[in-house]
């Protein structure tokens, strides 16, 4: 492995043009990930036709690098402005933005930089060591019932995040689950709650909903404070987390690498589930659950470690089996095909050089996050100095652009505004915005896999419990649920602010 890695590194850095492509990918991914309104997918779509003129290794490597740094890039705006660059950065905002409001933006961004790099590099190393066996294990042992059980396990803890009471936490999750049912049902294609609006057949898209619930509702909250004279501009803090603080979170980092990796390896799942599941696990294992959603460093660490850990893992089914884990890896299939290659077992035999250049590039791209991220952060944090009256319209404009640009639908902008108003009112009433977003995102994934799983087990729910991984996850989820209900009865105000 080391010999191959060194050979891949030598090929990567032995050619100035290849180095140029690598640097372009690193910076481009970070920028497109960080700027609300565009994403790494936008950059990838723009670049797709141009990769035809590159060498195959250069084209695939470019997309792999964009994937790594783009996943990190969205964390910055999530932390500073409550605008997640994409769905996988939404859990970062749960605690990252409250940290900014507390004047701890530097600490949050620093943790995001470091943990993104650690998560990405760790998964790159595992990817290099065991791509083929891991891919084969995953597709043999993890099917729709297991993914549903994983989602159920994740949702079981969601009531604890950010709500005034556990009951309101559960209501928040249920609201999210209800929103997730809008649109065509995932297996039969039957329209639900679309009220004859054709565009709603596709359901509520994640990005507009997230932008509304987070960014727009926050603008309303801050505007209200401004109008009532209670507004305090967040302090700009350049203080990064200390080594001691990071060392204290070593278990969270290790757990997030594992969770992120396991979610990322599943075909069609990817980094979004990884980030949400990892955040949920951080809450589950914490002795101070009530602190999550209010500016806890561990929340940022868990989400950012996991979503980058998923990037390396997502390459495993892609390269070993030809199964892309998400939109960007699906575009990478096209890059392969443009060069008359097919990702899958044959590519390891026919193009080992390409594979090791890509592996090496992903490792160094994650390392670059650490180096460039620190420099970039020192500059970006100064954006917080912009007065609210200028910053708020700018954020609204960027959020509206971000909501519209993905599908080009005005409906998505309307959804964003409505989510913003609803989010503002729900927050005032003590409901949890993270809980709603968790319900929305995990609900869509969970419903689809539950329906597929039910078809697979011939509508015999008991069969779920004959699958060991599935049974363990469901049992653990029920234990968490019961514990949550017990705590609610024992101390109804236990999580009250």
């Amino acid at each position: 492995m080391i010999e191959n890695f060194l050979a891949g590194s030598a090929a990567l850095f032995g050619d100035p043009f290849t180095i140029g492509i690598f640097v372009f990918g690193v910076i481009g991914g970070m920028l497109f990930g960080a700027i609300p309104g565009v994403s790494m997918l936008t950059l990838a779509a723009i670049l797709l036709p141009f990769t035809a003129s590159l060498e195959p290794a250069q084209g695939v490597m470019l997309f792999a690098v964009i994937y790594c740094t783009g996943t990190y890039g969205g964390a910055i705006t999530a932390i500073l402005f409550n605008i997640p660059g994409s769905a996988e950065n939404a859990p970062t905002a749960f605690d990252g933005y409250p940290m900014t409001l507390k004047g701890q933006s530097g600490k949050a961004v620093g943790a995001a930089v470091l943990c993104s790099a650690i998560g990405g590099m760790a998964s790159a190393l595992v990817m290099m060591a065991a791509t083929e066996p891991l891919a084969n294990w995953a597709i043999r042992n993890i099917g729709p019932p297991e993914i549903f059980a994983l989602v159920f396990f994740g949702l079981a803890v969601a009531s604890s995040i950010g709500a005034r009471t556990i009951w309101k936490g559960w209501m928040s999750v249920l609201i999210g689950l209800l929103i997730a049912t809008i649109g065509q049902d995932p297996v039969g294609g039957i329209n639900r709650y679309n009220f004859g609006i054709g565009d709603l057949a596709a359901g509520i898209a994640f990005v507009p909903a997230i932008l509304g619930f987070f960014a727009v509702s926050e603008i309303f909250v801050q505007a209200e404070k401004k109008a009532s004279g209670k507004y305090k501009a967040p302090k700009v803090s350049m203080t990064f987390p200390s080594w001691l603080e990071l060392w204290m979170h070593k278990v969270a980092v290790a757990r997030s690498v594992v969770v992120g990796f396991l979610c990322g390896i599943l075909p069609g799942i990817g980094a979004t589930l990884a980030a949400f599941m990892s955040y949920g696990e951080a809450v589950r294992w914490s002795k101070n659950r009530e602190e999550f959603g209010k500016g806890k460093l561990e929340g940022v660490i868990s989400a950012e470690t996991a979503n980058n850990a998923a990037t390396g893992a997502a390459m495993i089914p892609l390269l070993a089996l030809g199964l892309p884990g998400g939109a960007l890896t699906a575009m990478m299939v096209v890059v392969f095909q443009m060069h008359d290659l097919q990702p899958g077992p044959l590519v390891f035999m026919l193009s080992p050089d390409l594979i090791w250049i890509v592996f090496a590039a992903m490792f160094y791209a994650n390392l670059s996050i650490l180096i460039i991220g620190v420099v970039e952060t020192k500059t970006i944090l100064n954006l917080l100095k912009i007065p609210f009256q200028f910053l708020a319209p700018l954020i609204l404009m960027l959020a509206a652009t971000g909501a519209y640009i993905n599908r080009g639908l005005v409906l998505d902008v309307i959804v964003m505004v409505l989510a913003g108003i609803a989010g503002y009112l729900l927050r005032r009433s003590g409901f949890s915005i993270p809980g709603i977003v968790l319900g929305l995102i995990l609900g869509k994934i969970g419903e689809q896999n539950f329906a597929q799983g039910m078809q697979m087990v011939h509508y015999d729910l008991g069969t779920y419990f004959s699958r060991p991984i599935c049974a363990i996850l469901i049992f653990a989820g029920f234990v968490t649920l019961c514990s949550s209900v017990y705590r609610a009865f024992k101390s109804p105000k236990s999580v009250e602010e």
Binding site: A202, P267, L323, G325, Q342, G344
Partner: protein, 337 residues
Amino acid sequence: MNKLLGTAAFAAAMFATSNASAFECKRSEASFDKPDGFPERALTMIVPYGPAGGSGQVAAAMAEAVTELTGIPINRDHKPGGSGTVGMTAYMAAPADGYNVLEHIDDASSAHALDSSLPNPAEDLIPLVISQVTFSQVYIRSNETRFTDWPSFVEWVKAQDGKATIANVSKEGSMERVTMGFITDAADMKIQQISFDKGAPRYGALLGGQVDALFEQPGDVRNFLDAGQFKPILTIFDERPEAFADTMTHREAGMDFEPLLRFRGFYVHADAPADRVEWLQWAFQRGYCEDSYQAYNESKFMTVIDSYRDTDGAKDLITRSVAQYRDVYKAMGLEVK
């Protein structure tokens, strides 16, 4: 149900097109005068699916070919969701000035068959060209030991008493679900269809043994076929395509139904100016002949049968498909509006 399936003319049309032959461009004019300078700017192509799927890829290949031919750039605007309805709605709301074109698949025809208030691709739109026509197959893992061909598969499925599974895109009224209905009726077997809307989990389910078989089109699983991981055991087409000479057809397996085909094509609004439509027809039909597009089609097994339909041929294919779907839906007891 079989009696309702298609017409003799449809069958004849399919037979007439089933033999892939050396490529011959059906549109001979190498150039075509622009009507009043049209187009003087880039065209927009609305694609109702994501950029990485079959539609996204064929849209990219055709856009590249037309641009090579005419020098006119084509911006692709992907509007995925709702089985193509979001993109179709957006297209119908776009100006009918010839600058907006649409990529769509046979789902538009089946959707119209189920609900006539939805656009009819043969009347509300003008097909510029259908550039991909393909058939479906049933696949198993190459290392499968429980069954090795269609007869042994059917025997095994019957022995499972409804517990066998097949992965496909079995949305209500879809080509996949309808065809599977034909197959199970004709073979007198029960098989549980597992619906996966994305390709990766669908193919992973077969590779990992989560399902017993897969219903798919050959171009979409070419890498698995080339890698020797999947093996076709049934071709749902009236005769054996040369590339799959060893695989029996549904006719040979004793199933007497007309195959439903997957087709992808390009359209313009029926109200677009006639001279502009004429130029677009030339550009897209001639684009089909470009080397780059032909190379793409070949890589996707789209030259195994005749993938080309000009406007009239496309209208004919769509009209027959709509009628066929409508008959089948009624027979299935679905509410046909």
